[in-house]
């Protein structure tokens, strides 16, 4: 019996955000230097250069309100950041600029992150949490015109997290609610397709893999649950795995569909095989809650890193299962 390998150490750690890190986003697809965006609790967005491992720029656009979500828009080269000042800022970062072109008001006081969908048809959709705690607004990003408002009929409580994706029939959206249920929405018709009571506690995070039509959700308890969308577009429970310590703040499936990472409230990042949720690694580095975990979209597979942002103000960057 061969002894299992000891878990790897982080490749490097990014210090200097000076505030708990709430959210992360890689930007490595285009030529040039690989970047990592991070949003902090103090309202700053740091842009890290992964070559020299230093913060290249600091964007401040939310008046000190906590930034809970950042995203790049590939089609327009724009950059989005969502803050708890109830605004989503659209940035222009071209050629060294760092200016907010405009901002969208969400009216949401919750912690739900936005979800961006860039379909092939040049139409970029953004799903936002809205003023009513259970409502989702979907708007076209370019024209800023609202497309749909999705409000569940039954009482499912506050909207906790969501993920929008493109299906054959049109854009769909998975949303997790306070009562532990996951609802599949048909965005173009604005109606719920299916509902699954995935957790006894609120759904804290979810991610969806469009290739396998399979998603995963985490909660404030000890279980991770995976579910699939069947041919009748119903959500079905598939698999679940038990964690040692309760609470997951973010889940991220790697683009190649091999592994999924979970940011745990106990400060550990857990890695599972995506196919059967087989536990693969427990990465212990952070001293406080891990808020966010992200995989890089680098064109070269061996360069695809994983980053984890924690409440202890650090971002750890890992290279895990990237050999093949």
């Amino acid at each position: 019996m061969v002894m299992a390998r000891p878990p790897p150490d982080p490749l490097f750690t990014l210090r200097g955000s000076a505030a708990p890190v709430n959210t992360l986003q890689f930007h490595c697809s285009t030529a040039g230097r690989p970047l990592l965006y991070s949003g902090s609790e103090k309202g700053c967005v740091h842009v890290w250069n992964l070559n020299n491992r230093r913060a290249e720029r600091v964007l401040e656009g939310h008046d000190g309100a906590s930034v809970i979500w950042v995203s790049t828009v590939d089609s327009t080269d724009a950059f989005l950041s969502q803050g708890r000042d109830m605004r989503v800022c659209v940035w222009d970062l071209h050629e060294g600029r760092s200016a907010v072109t405009h901002s969208l008001r969400t009216g949401s006081v919750g912690f739900c992150q936005c979800s961006l969908l860039e379909a092939e048809t040049n139409k970029t959709l953004l799903a936002l949490p809205a003023e009513h705690t259970e409502e989702i607004k979907v708007m076209e990003l370019a024209s800023q015109t609202p497309v749909r408002s999705l409000i569940p009929d039954s009482k499912q409580g506050m909207l906790m997290c969501m993920k929008m994706f493109q299906a054959e029939s049109g854009p769909l959206l998975c949303a997790g609610y306070e009562d532990g249920s996951v609802v599949l929405w048909d965005v173009s018709h604005g109606r719920p397709l299916s509902c699954l009571k995935a957790h006894p506690e609120p759904v804290m995070c979810l991610d969806f893999d469009t290739d396998r039509q399979k998603g995963i959700s985490g909660s404030s308890d000890k279980t991770l649950t995976s579910w699939i969308i069947d041919s009748q577009q119903n959500l079905q429970m598939q698999n679940s795995v038990l964690l040692t310590n309760p609470g997951v703040s973010q889940l991220c499936i790697r683009a190649d569909g091999k592994i999924v990472a979970a940011a745990g409230w106990d400060g550990n990042v857990r890695v599972f095989g995506w196919k059967r949720l087989k536990p693969l690694a427990v990465l212990q580095h952070h001293k406080d809650l891990v808020h966010s975990v992200a995989f890089s979209n680098h064109p070269e597979a061996s360069q695809r890193l994983m980053a984890a942002g924690s409440k202890d103000q650090r971002i750890s960057v890992w290279s895990i299962y990237s050999e093949s």
């Binding site: 002894m3 299992a4 390998r5 000891p6 878990p7 790897p8 532990g180 009571k197 995935a198 957790h199 006894p200 396998r212 039509q213 399979k214 279980t223 649950t225 699939i228 069947d230 041919s231 079905q236 429970m237 598939q238 698999n239 679940s240 795995v241 038990l242 040692t244 310590n245 569909g257 091999k258 592994i259 106990d266 400060g267 550990n268 857990r270 095989g273 995506w274 196919k275 059967r276 087989k278 536990p279 693969l280 690694a281 427990v282 212990q284 299962y321 093949s324």
Partner: protein
């Protein structure tokens, strides 16, 4: 008439000279000749029927007596065995069996030891083995109205037959042959009775009248004498199988039981029921006897059910099933149910009857209810409800856990029968295994009833399964469309890293200082911190004795008022052990605090009980020598509350004793004598003891010790007993014993058995711990009364524990007395 008297004269003239020869002649040939003449008159002889009848009537007994008197004659001894058997034995085996039996038994009881006695016994044996008893019974059956027997003779034969083993054993003692011992004799007798009944059936079929009077009387008398068990073991199964197919047998067996005299019928019936399996067998054998005979009715509907309780459940089933089987008997079943209900719901019965009896009545009640059909239940619904509510309530009031549980189980079972499924009585208790059989009472009779509740239970379970949140390993629900088979086996390529470091994270750290611990317990709202503090409290206190002393009373106060807000695992044990630690470390102030709080206002019963338990455990710990490695859990387990210590400890003790007795200790020389250490409890025993006795008779708004709060009173007396027991050899023991005896004397007739148990325990403790001379001095006035009281309790208390404790106290008292009476005589 003439002919008859003619025969009489003729026979007498023929027999008389022969008899004279037998009794007086010395010539053995002559005697043999004379006997051969008389033989003609016996069965199988060639005399005419009327002559034989005359011989049997008037001369047979005389002939036998003459023969017996010749037992010691030369003629008898000179007879070869073959001829002796023919000429001597034949007379006994070929004449009327009743006369022969009487003569034989008389001879045995009047002859002294010798060959004559041996011979007579062997003749009696062959008499029995030749089936002469069967002949006797059958001859009595045939005498329907022929010869009006003299009552005296009949009575004598009955007595002799029924107690033959006793009569012979009185004479023969240990030399009694096996055939004459009760085991064999009564089994044979039962077989003879069966044969007689069979003959009767045959005769009845042939149109001949028979009388079963004698057989019935014999059966009654034998059962009355306590041999019913032996007889019915043979009789009952045979009767059961014979009556199954034959209606005539059924009539005969009913007739037989009807003919048993009233004064004996009870023993016959009970013996019979014990050996008949199933209600239908009883019904076949007994018919509707219960309706015809008042005595039987009383036995079956009252005595067996309500007055006795030693019978097995099978018997209850048989009796109640028998009542339910026939339409005519069903009113009796209802009547039985009413009376059983009355007893079950009687609060006085709950208090004053033993647990076994209550269990027995509960079984009877449930069986009864189960036998009723739906219309009857509706008819009796009001009464049953009344019974259920009353009975359950007075059982729930009881301080014995067993009784409470019994009330709940029976209540649930009754409600299940009475009410609609929606409005059933339900208690949220996990029933112990010992009551499962009660629940089974309801289900075993009508197997057709069972599938319904079972299936509904299953579906309910299924629903609850559906509504449950997803469990950890739900791998079964795999969809067809996206099955994993179509995917690449990507998981298997990835080898997992070592994940042993993944452990449950604890947010808070346990407190390291006594004051921190106290702070957390007092004011923290963090469940984890409170739990950790509670867990470490005992260890911290014992480690930091000096700090603990500074805050001991405050800490005790906090612990006493601590509530289980976060449902901490093992909350009560942790809190208790911490409190015990405090009382041990800083005994005087803490104990003073606890004992004053015991009688003060606004405490719950639970808190008061906690105080008592802590005091008892602390005293126990103090009285034990300090050992290096303290087994913390050991004393806690030993002095638990009265309720828990019942059966659990019991078997453990038994096992330990057995192990002790089987273990051989080899290391003799190596064992060191235990080191002497001062008893820490003796100097402080008074602080524990006397304050608890101070205010018991002063009722308060929230606490009335001598009134309704007898649960605490029982525990208090028990604790006082324990404190007394631990104070053995302490100087203060005499005063303590005095005070305790005074206290318990006032409450020794308390209605609650827990209190009485406590009282007896305390008395035991006093007898054990108080120095002998002081005890007798103290008791001198009440000695006689105390003994009378203890003897009375030992005999008639409904509670088994009370009885055994009383016996124990009596033994201790006697021992004390004996040593005391002996020691002065040795001095003088």
């Amino acid at each position: 008439m003439d002919r008859c008297s003619g025969a009489e004269v003729e026979v007498r003239q023929a027999v008389a000279p022969c008899l004279r020869i037998v009794s007086s002649s010395r010539d053995s040939a002559e005697v043999t000749e004379a006997l051969r003449t008389i033989i003609h008159y016996l069965e199988g002889g060639n005399a005419s029927a009327s002559e034989k009848a005359e011989f049997n009537r008037a001369n047979y007994t005389r002939v036998l007596q003459v023969l017996v008197s010749s037992l010691s004659s030369d003629w008898f001894h000179s007879l070869p065995a073959q001829e002796r058997r023919e000429l001597w034995d034949g007379f006994f085996l070929r004449g009327p069996p009743d006369q022969a039996l009487l003569v034989l038994l008389d001879t045995i009881s009047s002859t002294s030891d010798g060959s004559g006695l041996d011979w007579t016994v062997s003749v009696l044996e062959s008499f029995l083995s030749a089936g002469r008893v069967g002949m006797l019974l059958w001859s009595r059956c045939l005498e329907t109205n022929g010869r009006p027997d003299s009552v005296q003779l009949r009575e004598t034969i009955l007595t002799r037959l029924s107690s033959l083993p006793d009569l012979t054993a009185n004479r023969l003692r240990t030399n009694t042959p096996a055939r004459l011992l009760p085991q064999q004799y009564y089994t044979d007798l039962a077989r003879d009775v069966l044969n007689t009944l069979e003959n009767t059936c045959r005769a009845l079929r042939a149109g001949q009248d028979c009388s079963l009077g004698f057989v019935a009387q014999l059966l009654g008398k034998v059962c009355m004498q306590g041999h019913g068990e032996l007889v019915c073991r043979t009789l009952a199964p045979r009767l059961s199988s014979l009556t199954r197919s034959d209606a005539l047998w059924r009539r005969v067996s009913c007739k037989l039981l009807e003919n048993v005299p009233d004064r004996w019928v009870e023993s016959v019936i009970t013996a019979l029921i014990h050996h008949l399996h199933g209600a239908s067998a009883l019904s076949r054998v007994m018919g509707n006897l219960v309706l015809k005979n008042k005595k039987v009715q009383f036995v079956l509907t009252h005595k067996v059910l309500l007055l006795q309780y030693q019978h097995p459940t099978q018997l209850l089933r048989t009796v109640l099933g028998y009542l339910a089987l026939d339409h005519d008997r069903r009113p009796l079943l209802k009547q039985v149910l009413r009376s059983v209900c009355q007893v079950w719901s009687n609060s006085s019965a709950v208090r004053h009857t033993s647990l076994d009896q209550q269990l027995y009545v509960s079984k009877a009640l449930l069986l009864c209810v189960n036998l009723l059909n739906q219309t009857e239940i509706q008819e009796l619904r009001e009464e049953l409800l009344q019974c259920m509510l009353g009975g359950v309530q007075c059982r729930l009031d009881s301080s014995t856990e067993h009784v409470r549980r019994m009330g709940m189980v029976v209540g649930e079972c009754l409600s299940q029968k009475l009410d609609t499924p929606t409005s059933q009585l339900q208690f949220q208790v996990i029933f112990r295994k010992d009551f499962v059989f009660l629940i089974r009472m309801l289900s075993s009779y009508f197997p057709s009833d069972r599938p319904q509740p079972e299936s509904s239970g299953q579906s309910a379970e299924g629903q609850s399964m559906m509504s449950q949140p997803p469990a950890a390993s739900q791998t079964s629900a795999k969809p067809a469309g996206h099955s994993s088979d179509s995917e690449l086996d990507s998981d298997d390529e990835l080898t997992p890293y070592d994940m042993s470091a993944d452990q449950v994270k604890q947010k808070a750290t346990p407190p390291r200082y006594v004051r921190d611990c106290l702070e957390a317990l007092m004011s923290s709202d963090d469940p984890e911190r409170v739990e950790l503090s509670l867990q470490t409290a005992e260890e911290l206190l014992r480690k930091n004795v000096s700090t603990a002393r500074e805050v001991s009373v405050q800490f005790s106060k906090v612990l006493l008022h601590l509530e289980d807000r976060y449902s901490t695992a093992g909350f009560h044990t942790l809190r208790q052990s911490a409190m015990v630690a405090l009382a041990v470390i800083h005994t005087q102030p803490v104990v003073e605090y606890l004992t004053t709080e015991f009688y003060s206002l606004n405490y719950s019963l639970r808190q008061r009980l906690d105080i008592l338990e802590v005091l008892a455990l602390a005293a126990q710990e103090l009285s034990e020598p300090i050992t290096e490695k303290k087994a913390v859990s050991q004393p806690v387990a030993r002095a638990v509350t009265l309720e828990q210590c019942g059966e659990v400890e019991h078997w453990r003790q038994v096992v330990e004793k057995r192990i002790q007795s089987k273990t051989r200790r080899i290391s003799k020389g190596a064992s060191q004598p235990p080191k002497a250490a001062p008893n820490r409890y003796a100097p402080v025993a008074a602080y524990f003891f006397f304050p608890l006795l101070r205010n018991y008779d002063r009722p308060q708004v929230t606490f009335d010790l001598l009134g309704s709060d007898h649960l605490v009173l029982g525990q208090l007396v028990h604790t006082l007993g324990l404190l007394m027991h631990l104070a053995v050899n302490a100087p203060v023991a005499t005063q303590m014993g005095k005070a305790l005896l005074d206290f318990v004397w006032a409450i020794r007739f308390h209605a609650d058995q827990m209190v009485r148990r406590g009282v007896l325990f305390a008395v035991c403790a006093v007898f054990l711990s108080m120095p002998g001379e002081n005890l007798l001095l103290e008791l001198s006035d009440d000695l006689v009364e105390t003994r009378a009281w203890l003897a009375d309790v030992a005999e008639s208390d409904p509670d088994a524990d009370c009885r055994s404790l009383a016996v124990q106290s009596l033994v201790l008292l006697e021992k004390n007395l004996k040593t005391h009476l002996q020691s002065p005589s040795m001095e003088t």
